[in-house]
């Protein structure tokens, strides 16, 4: 039988194939030849055949029938056979294969071979792909070789040990004795692999970590020698001596110094030395600097060193080499939390990187930019980020848009995001943030509404009821709408039922969706239907506008569903002009919570207790019963007795943290023995709200009964009165009546108040009016933005729309 063709011959032949089919044919032919050769148990040419098989395997053809042949080659005495055999094993015989374990014995024998190159082959194979069982069986041999004086074998044994530890972590302990004098080696190969081994052990076990901390001085010495020693041709790379070893030592130092003062101090000097002396003209120098910076940032380094590190990164940012810039951005991202101010200094460079052509750099720059946004630079940053959003690839848009929402201070920017067609990329959970932003900047409402409506319709024409309903119904049926959008539309339609006159049409739409396949839609529709049928009298109040949401640090409180009703937003505020609502846009509060938030409350029975009972929980339904019959339109002449709010937090206590804001108390009224003092607190979640507690005391000898405190504020404010503690002011200052007032002051104007007091004293009724103008400035001046508190539905202000038509009185009179 002719000798099988040589490997090179085969390669040459296969490369002449002009088509895939031709190649396949050649390969199949050769495979058949090889198979028959294997069957004949030909020892001479096994090696050649396996080599050819490996070549064909690299081209993508199956080679599993060569697995056993590899084993035979490994077992052979010839070095050539072993070489190819082990190569084949590493390519074909990984631990997933059944015959993998058959290698164990061969490897064991070869680990003890007389020729170091055979031992080397065995160590290499074991260290690259040995399974856990194999590692367990052979760990002892590896450990033995770790102690040999032969540096060629020792370095391989060290890396083999690393692999063993990775596969079978509990064997780590057995290598501990052998590590004793690893670092005293002169051979760089051994040093390098030893440091890798030590690193692995320290990373895996805190005990090992503390054990090896004592090596810090030795490591520092080795590193120092590397830097200070003269030119060593063997290890030199562009003028730097053994950069691989330097990097490895720096990494080990990082692990050892982390969280440990003494170790960190011991390495301070050397780190400074490396940082200042390393040549940076080539990549290799920068690689070392990079590792140094990472180490400095991780250990307990002194501040001077940290500044040095950040400055190195700053220089990196200006480097022409893109790789260096990328690496700098990555590191800065890691350090921006801890060294924020230092990183801020490089902000402009970072923002420039947004314009880079490289995707990886852009992404890093974007993440870093978001991390750098703060109150001072937000204007400029937003501009840059919006520009970036406009021009970036789709893969970025989602993250960028969400980032902008989270960071944006006013809805203008967020709106731009929407209308820049990134809206479709925006994640659902960002919507609450947007809504919250919009509602917080009251003056933006009109603009907001217009932009959103425009985006929705591409048409700014005057809107009629039917058109609006058309749009919403269109959304409902459109194939392009997501279920979420449909949900919004349905709820929006529902809300319009109290604002529009074409209730029947709405009823019809709602009932249709009662049998929708989408469970969410179906549920909503059924509930809304119930609302129409059984609870119609509650409908207006339930579908009332909802209060401003608190800004949250995260994506919104759990109880506020992400049904930020952008649709209803548009229509609610667009609506008033249509029904000749004179309500000023600036004061309209947007209806935020979907009806389904409120709907579940319907299920509870309606208690009919008066809302004014002191200190009681103000029940939603209790309030409704007060308002009497349904108010068909939201705004009208609201009776004075309308409760000022619909939803209360669960207590009548104010929902805020008491900040001793240091605002001094003041006396608002003091006449005829009745003294009323105001004390101030700042509502933490919303800096626009001043919380005033009145304390009424009576210095006369007779009690003041049926005490009622009323207050009124100018149009630009909104006021809310909570229940008083009682309506009897005891005589002779024996006690006081307290009551909490909340004033919303979005325009930060000077606070003024008119109060009216009525009480019965010694049998006769007393009434008095007074102006309170002496509010301390701190009570109405703003706090810096950034007060983000925990979630909580803020109590709304009462509707004042109807009041606005009253021309005589400048102020609105409200009472509890």
């Amino acid at each position: 039988m002719p000798a099988p063709i040589r490997l090179r011959e085969l390669i040459r032949t296969i490369r002449t194939a002009r088509t895939q089919a031709e190649e396949r044919e050649m390969i199949q032919k050769e495979c058949a030849a090889i198979r028959s050769s294997f069957r004949e148990e030909d020892n001479t040419y096994r090696c050649r055949n396996v080599a050819k098989l490996l070549y064909m395997h690299m081209l993508g053809y199956p080679a599993h029938f060569g697995q056993l042949e590899c084993l035979k080659l490994i077992a052979s005495q010839k070095f050539t056979d072993k070489r190819i055999g082990y190569l084949g094993a590493m390519l074909l015989l990984d631990e997933r294969q059944d015959v993998h374990l058959l290698m164990t014995n061969c490897i064991k024998n070869d680990l003890n071979h007389s020729t170091q190159y055979v031992q080397g082959l065995a160590l290499c194979t074991l260290g690259c792909m040995g399974s856990s069982e194999m590692c367990r069986d052979l760990a002892g041999e590896v450990e033995k070789l770790l102690k040999t004086s032969n540096s060629y074998l020792r370095k391989k044994a060290a890396l083999c040990a690393v692999h063993v530890i990775r596969k079978v972590p509990e064997l780590m302990e057995m290598f501990l004795p052998a590590t004793k004098n690893l670092l005293s080696e002169k051979n760089h190969g051994v040093l390098h692999t030893s440091v890798v081994l030590l690193t692995e052990m320290c990373e895996r076990s805190p005990d090992m970590l503390s054990h090896f901390r004592k090596l810090v001085p030795q490591l520092v010495r080795i590193l120092k020698n590397l830097i200070m020693s003269g030119y060593s041709p063997e290890h030199d790379v562009s003028g730097i001596s053994d950069p691989f070893l330097q990097v490895r030592i720096l990494r080990l130092l990082r692990i050892l110094g982390k969280g440990d003062d003494d170790s960190s101090e011991a390495m301070n000097d050397i780190l400074a030395q490396v940082a200042t002396n390393t040549e940076t003209s080539k990549n290799v120098g920068n690689a070392i600097l990079y590792e140094t910076v990472l180490t400095i940032m991780d250990i307990k380094s002194e501040s001077g060193l940290r500044v040095l590190a950040i400055n190195i990164l700053g220089r990196f940012l200006l480097n022409n080499d893109k790789n260096i810039r990328y690496v700098a951005l990555t590191s800065l991202l890691k350090t921006v939390q801890t060294d924020h101010n230092a990183v801020q200094r490089h902000r402009s460079t970072i923002v420039d990187c947004l314009k880079d052509l490289d995707v990886s750099i852009k992404r890093r720059a974007m993440e870093l930019s978001f991390a750098l946004v703060n109150g001072n630079n937000i204007r400029g940053m937003m501009k840059e980020l919006l520009y970036f959003l406009d021009s970036c690839d789709p893969e970025f848009k989602a993250d960028c848009a969400s980032g902008i929402f989270l960071a944006a201070e006013n809805p203008f920017e967020s709106l731009q995001t929407f209308t820049l067609e990134a809206g479709s990329y925006v994640r659902d959970d960002s919507v609450p943030n947007l809504i919250q932003l919009i509602t917080n900047s009251v003056e933006m409402h009109a603009y907001t509404v217009q932009r959103l409506y425009k985006a929705l319709l591409d048409d700014i024409s005057q809107v009629t009821e039917d058109e609006v309903l058309d749009v919403l119904e269109g959304l409902l049926v459109s194939n392009l709408s997501t279920p979420v959008t449909r949900g919004y539309s349905l709820t929006a339609i529902m809300k319009l039922s109290t604002r529009f006159s074409s209730v029947n049409r709405i009823k019809k739409v709602v009932s249709i969706y009662g049998s929708s396949i989408d469970v969410e839609l179906q549920q909503r529709a059924v509930e809304y239907n119930a609302l129409f049928k059984k609870y119609d009298h509650m409908r207006p109040a339930l579908l009332e506008r909802m209060p401003i949401m608190e800004k949250t640090a995260t994506n919104g409180p759990a109880e506020i569903q992400t049904n930020g009703e952008t649709d209803s937003t548009i229509l609610d505020t667009k609506h008033p002009p249509n029904i000749t609502q004179p309500a000023s846009q600036a004061n309209d509060l947007l209806d935020l919570l979907g009806g389904n938030d409120v709907v579940p409350v319907i299920q509870t029975t309606v208690p009919t207790k008066p809302a004014s009972a002191g200190g009681e929980l103000l029940d939603l339904l209790g309030d409704l019963s007060l308002t009497g019959g349904p108010t068909p339109t939201p705004a009208p002449s609201v009776p004075i007795s309308q409760p000022p709010f619909l939803l209360d937090g669960l207590t009548s206590q104010p929902l805020f943290n008491d900040i001793a804001a240091g605002i001094p108390p003041m006396t608002a009224y003091n006449k005829n023995g009745l003294k009323i003092e105001f004390t101030f607190e700042r509502s933490n979640p919303n800096p626009n709200i001043a919380v005033i507690t009145i304390h009424a005391t009576n210095s006369t000898e007779a009690d003041m009964t049926e005490f009622v405190f009323q207050a009124a504020v100018p149009k630009t404010f909104q006021l809310q009165l909570l229940s008083p503690s009682s309506n009897v002011v005891p005589a002779l200052n024996q006690g006081s009546v307290t009551q909490v007032i909340r004033v919303l002051n979005p325009q930060k104007q000077q606070l003024r108040m008119r109060i009216k007091l009525t009480y019965t004293h010694k049998g006769s009724p007393v009434q008095d009016l007074a102006e309170v103008n002496n509010f301390p400035p701190q009570s109405w001046q703003s706090l810096p933005w950034g007060c983000m508190g925990s979630s909580g539905i803020f109590l709304t202000q009462s509707r004042v729309d109807g009041m606005k038509t009253d021309d005589d009185d400048d102020d609105d009179l409200q009472r509890q």
């Binding site: 190569l87 083999c160 690393v162 972590p169 190969g189 950069p243 690689a287 893109k322």
Partner: protein, 201 residues
């Protein structure tokens, strides 16, 4: 209940594994790995690929156990991604939770997949060192050398890197070892051909 049983089973398995891992020391947990690789935590380099500009694989070294289909899939993906890069872009790509560090030398792309925490710049140096070794060995190496002597390329790689880590930082020592191993191979082969000549196969 069925669900409960499987839950318990899973729990039992987990406990067993945790037992293995903790033993005398507490282990520090590490980030889970990419792409179906379960237990190789802390592995710095996961694989190295050499491929031509047409996407033909010239060398593949895997330091993690994967099935052939998985390897093929990963190779295809990575090759596609790297070939799509424009010349002026940086040498680093994020892919799943790994970083791909690549560099082109003439018609060959050298590509390493390393852990996220790895120093990318030194990985570039590793790649460069390997190219230098090939260059020294073959004498002005070109793609054809690697095609026709792929097994030698593997041998050189295995003398330089073991288990994903560099084992020898001296160029000279790596090349010396290869030289000596080559000589050993020749010595082993020569006697046979002599016998063949005499006619005694």
């Amino acid at each position: 209940m069925r669900g409960q049983d499987s839950n318990d089973l899973a729990k039992g398995r987990r406990v067993h594994v945790t037992g293995l891992l903790t033993s005398a020391f507490t282990t520090i947990s590490h980030k889970a790995h990419a792409y179906g690789i379960e237990c190789n935590i802390n592995l710095k380099m996961q694989f190295m690929l050499l491929f031509s500009r047409q996407g033909k694989l010239r060398l593949q070294k895997w330091y993690v156990p994967l099935s052939d289909t998985q390897k093929k899939k990963i190779s295809r993906e990575v090759i596609q991604m790297v070939l799509a890069r424009k010349p002026k872009m940086c040498s680093f790509l994020e892919w799943r939770d790994l970083k791909i560090v690549y560099k082109r030398y003439a018609s060959l792309y050298f590509c390493c997949a390393v852990e996220d925490q790895e120093n990318e710049l030194i990985t570039l140096e590793i790649i460069h060192r390997y190219v230098e070794l090939l260059d020294k060995y073959f004498g002005s190496v070109c793609e054809l050398d690697i095609i026709f002597n792929f097994e030698k390329a593997y041998y050189i790689l295995d003398e330089f890197i073991l288990g994903g880590e560099a084992q020898e930082t001296s160029k000279k020592n790596v090349l010396k070892a290869i030289e000596q191993a080559d000589m050993l191979q020749e010595e082993a082969e020569t006697p046979r051909s002599v016998l063949e000549e005499i006619g005694l196969t």
